[in-house]
């Protein structure tokens, strides 16, 4: 069914703010009702079980109160979910996405051109799934992966094509909708995102990349990423986000679920740059089996408020978690990020390294939880948080919670908070760098532990974004 027909069939044209300039084929109405959910599901031609999961999630969302009682949590009072249009599909012919670059509409190509995606593509990176607005419209994957049985596709497509895998793993064991109010909202209205499946003992040598961007006024983005790494497999998934500024508040509430089976290794890297009016409230979690390794690398830029605490559940003996996070908060921004690790088995290990930068009155907060369960003998955790402040108006807090139920463990924690040093700046200036360049160099050095983990294009982009932030030239 084409989307034009869809509009007529449902006879709801008046309810839809159909914007020609956005060339959207389908826009659900403002507000969130059971009818909206049914529309989304129907438009996607989803199986009944997915609709049921959405509706169950909606009920949970409606029941659960807004979180307001966390110590020092960002102010969410200006967030009005009812005002956010949850679903927009760009006007492309094929629901499953364009097969090649040239099939994309020109304005979408332009957007990606500016973000350097075709460049990345030209450099023969292994595959690009780019989400424009709510849906993956461009994907490419190298044939040899397919031969090995690797799947990398749009999440909507996965529901159709890989139903059993999705049905088993989608918001069941890892991130159930009951986890938190925004996970429930996500479960009700999710759309787009990536599905990655790596069969046993297969190593994907090059990073799998997806680039997200939301681009319509009042639009929410609720992409879902599901990564399943079978025993002995290895994959690096990278996701970048950026969004231009709009007048009304935007909500981004993504969901990420990662299954790291025995001896598997997954790295999930993300560079996010949401517009300064976005509420960025995500739930990301990995379940790590015996001797598996999960690595979270995230750079959080932009947004009005971010609450993001990627979580690893170290379920099997010898499982390992690494977290590397960086947050940048400028004027009017409250970036509340951190990490959660549950050591539920012996010999598990976690390392958390957090860096934050605040400037012009911005606030960053590291909020972390490390839980070591009774019986998780010989486990170890190391938490390091460093904060760099540009001025006296900016703030940085650290809330590293530890729940240690086992005595035979090794726990290390270190935190530093500092202002950018005048002597350091003068030293660089005396060598010829001007004031701005000197500060940029210090910041680039401060975040270097993160950038060295990223492929070159992302490291460059992250550095460039931070330079732009520091110049104040990002809206």
């Amino acid at each position: 069914m084409s989307s034009e027909e869809n509009l007529q069939d449902t006879d709801t044209e008046a309810r839809f703010e159909f914007k020609k300039e956005e060339q959207s084929a389908f826009t659900s109405g403002k507000g969130l009702t059971e009818e909206t959910i049914r529309l989304i599901s129907e438009d996607k031609d989803e199986p009944e079980w997915m609709l049921e999961r959405r509706l169950r999630a909606l009920k949970q969302y409606q029941k659960m109160p807004m979180p307001t009682d966390w110590p020092g949590q960002p102010d969410l009072s200006e967030l009005d979910v009812e005002e956010i249009v949850p679903y927009i599909r760009p006007d492309v012919d094929q629901r499953s996405g364009a097969e090649s670059w040239d099939d994309l509409p020109e304005d979408i190509q332009d957007t990606f051109e500016k973000l350097g995606i075709p460049e990345a593509e030209r450099k023969a990176l292994s595959g690009v799934g780019a989400q424009y607005e709510s849906e993956v419209v461009y994907q490419n994957m190298q044939e040899r992966w397919e031969e090995k049985g690797v799947i990398f596709c749009n999440m909507d497509e996965a529901v159709q094509e890989h139903e059993d895998l999705v049905k088993e793993h989608f918001m069941t064991k890892c991130v159930p909708p009951s986890d938190n109010k925004f996970a429930a909202l996500h479960g009700a209205v999710w759309s787009g995102g990536s599905f990655v499946y790596v069969p046993e003992d297969v190593t994907v040598e090059m990073p799998v990349q997806a680039y997200f961007r939301m681009n319509s006024e009042g639009m929410g983005q609720f992409e879902h990423t599901l990564i399943i790494a079978e025993p002995g497999s290895e994959v690096h998934y990278i996701e970048g986000c950026s969004a231009p500024k709009y007048g009304t508040h935007n909500l981004h509430s993504g969901g990420v679920e990662v299954f790291v089976k025995e001896d598997a290794h997954v790295q999930y890297s993300t560079v996010q740059n949401w517009s300064k009016n976005t509420f960025n409230l995500n739930t990301k979690r990995a379940i790590v089996e015996a001797n598996g390794t999960m690595e979270w690398v995230s750079g959080s830029m932009g947004s009005k408020a971010t609450m993001l605490y990627p979580c690893s559940i170290l379920k099997g003996r010898g499982a390992t978690d690494n977290h590397i996070t960086i947050a940048f908060a400028g004027e009017g921004q409250d970036i509340d990020t951190g990490a959660k690790v549950y050591h539920n088995a012996p010999d598990t290990k976690s390392t958390i390294e957090s860096k934050s930068i605040s400037k012009d009155g911005g606030r960053t907060n590291y909020r972390g939880l490390v839980h070591i369960a009774d019986g998780a003998e010989d486990s170890s955790t190391s938490v390091e948080c460093d904060a760099l402040m540009f001025d006296n108006e900016s703030t940085s807090d650290t809330m590293p919670y530890m729940e240690i139920e086992e005595s035979k463990v090794d726990v290390a924690h270190e935190a530093t908070v500092g202002k950018i040093g005048d002597e350091d700046v003068f030293y660089l200036q005396s060598r010829g760098l001007d004031d701005d360049d000197a500060k940029q160099m210090i910041v680039a050095g401060f975040i270097e532990p993160i950038t060295e983990e990223l492929p070159i294009e992302y490291a460059v982009e992250l550095n460039r974004l931070i330079e732009l932030e520091m110049e104040g030239s990002l809206g």
């Binding site: 040093g421 005048d422 002597e423 350091d424 003068f426 030293y427 660089l428 200036q429 005396s430 060598r431 010829g432 760098l433 001007d434 004031d435 360049d437 000197a438 160099m441 210090i442 680039a444 050095g445 401060f446 975040i447 270097e448 532990p449 950038t451 060295e452 070159i456 490291a459 460059v460 550095n463």
Partner: protein, 301 residues
């Protein structure tokens, strides 16, 4: 030939603090080596910081001028006549650096995450760009902005700036060899975890790369063992002999002056230069101490 000229410089801690320099007169020209000696707290370091433009100090009286001649910069055919005398007090620290004023710090900053290579190449290119802007106004030719990365993104685009990655690597290796520095220094983070001696060696290396017209070396000899002292001294002599740099060397001790022989020795006491002489003066001072200087100066007064 370049000359830096301090005339009756009074300086105090910024925001209305105590006056530290009470009228310093000093002149250093290309190819000369001057030693500035004096007891702790006499104002030697403050003099060096005031020359470089440290924001913690305010010059309340006097002037610091830099005189250049037409051919003082390699790569610049002729410095325009109206750009040959500069009032340093009106310039930012990086602009002073662009005109060839270099300060080797007594306590160099440690910058984590920034490799020596990246830092020095960025500084060298920034210096050249700023210099051309000061001398000729607008950028003559905008650096080719096209991106492209040969090495690490942390080292910046390969073809950005006057000195490219490959050319710079070669320059760096040459200078490091001269100073007997291990090659792996190039990939270490700027001064981070360096020993006291390594930091000092690094200051001299930076001077060698940035080719200053005037280098002020603040206690470059403190914390050096004898081998390194020799390396550092070789580096300083090379600055003078090969690049014609004028050197103002601040020190407490005679020791380094055995390796780097000064043309002129200045002795500072309570914020003023009270005695001047040739290398003999340093030797005499070593013998007799600062009390002798005090006696000479205050009895005479």
């Amino acid at each position: 030939m370049a000359t830096i000229e301090l005339t009756n410089v009074h300086a105090e801690v910024a925001d209305g603090g105590e006056e530290i320099l009470h009228g310093v007169d000093l002149e250093v020209s290309s190819g000369e080596i001057h030693a500035l000696m004096g007891p702790n707290g006499s104002g030697k370091s403050t003099t060096s910081k005031v020359i470089a433009g440290h924001p913690a100090y305010e010059v309340t009286e006097g002037e610091i001028l830099l005189h250049l001649e037409a051919d003082d910069f390699d790569g610049v055919d002729e410095i325009p006549e109206d750009a040959r005398t500069w009032n340093l007090l009106e310039l930012e620290p990086n602009e002073r650096a662009a005109l060839g004023v270099f300060l080797a710090f007594q306590y160099p900053a440690e910058i984590e995450g920034v490799t020596m290579t990246n830092f020095l190449r960025t500084a060298l290119n920034a210096k050249i760009e700023e210099r051309d802007e000061l001398l000729f106004g607008e950028d003559e030719d905008e650096a080719d902005e096209e991106s492209g990365y040969e090495t690490s993104p942390m080292e910046g685009p390969a073809d950005e700036g006057e000195v490219g990655v490959a050319e710079f690597q070669q320059l760096l290796s040459e200078k490091m060899e001269l100073l007997d520095m291990d090659e792996k220094f190039a990939q270490r983070y700027l001064n981070a975890g360096f020993s006291g001696g390594e930091k000092k060696q690094n200051e001299v290396l930076q001077a060698a790369i940035l080719e200053p017209t005037i280098a002020v070396l603040d206690e470059i000899d403190s914390g050096l063992d004898i081998d390194r002292l020799q390396d550092v001294a070789d580096g300083i002599n090379a600055l003078r002999d090969e690049q014609g740099t004028g050197v103002l060397q601040i020190t407490h001790y005679q020791r380094i002056l055995d390796y780097v022989e000064p043309d002129t020795v200045h002795i500072m006491l309570d914020g003023e230069i009270v005695m001047e002489g040739d290398a003999e003066l340093a030797a005499e001072l070593e013998d007799k101490g600062y009390d002798w200087v005090r006696e000479q100066v205050y009895n005479a007064a």
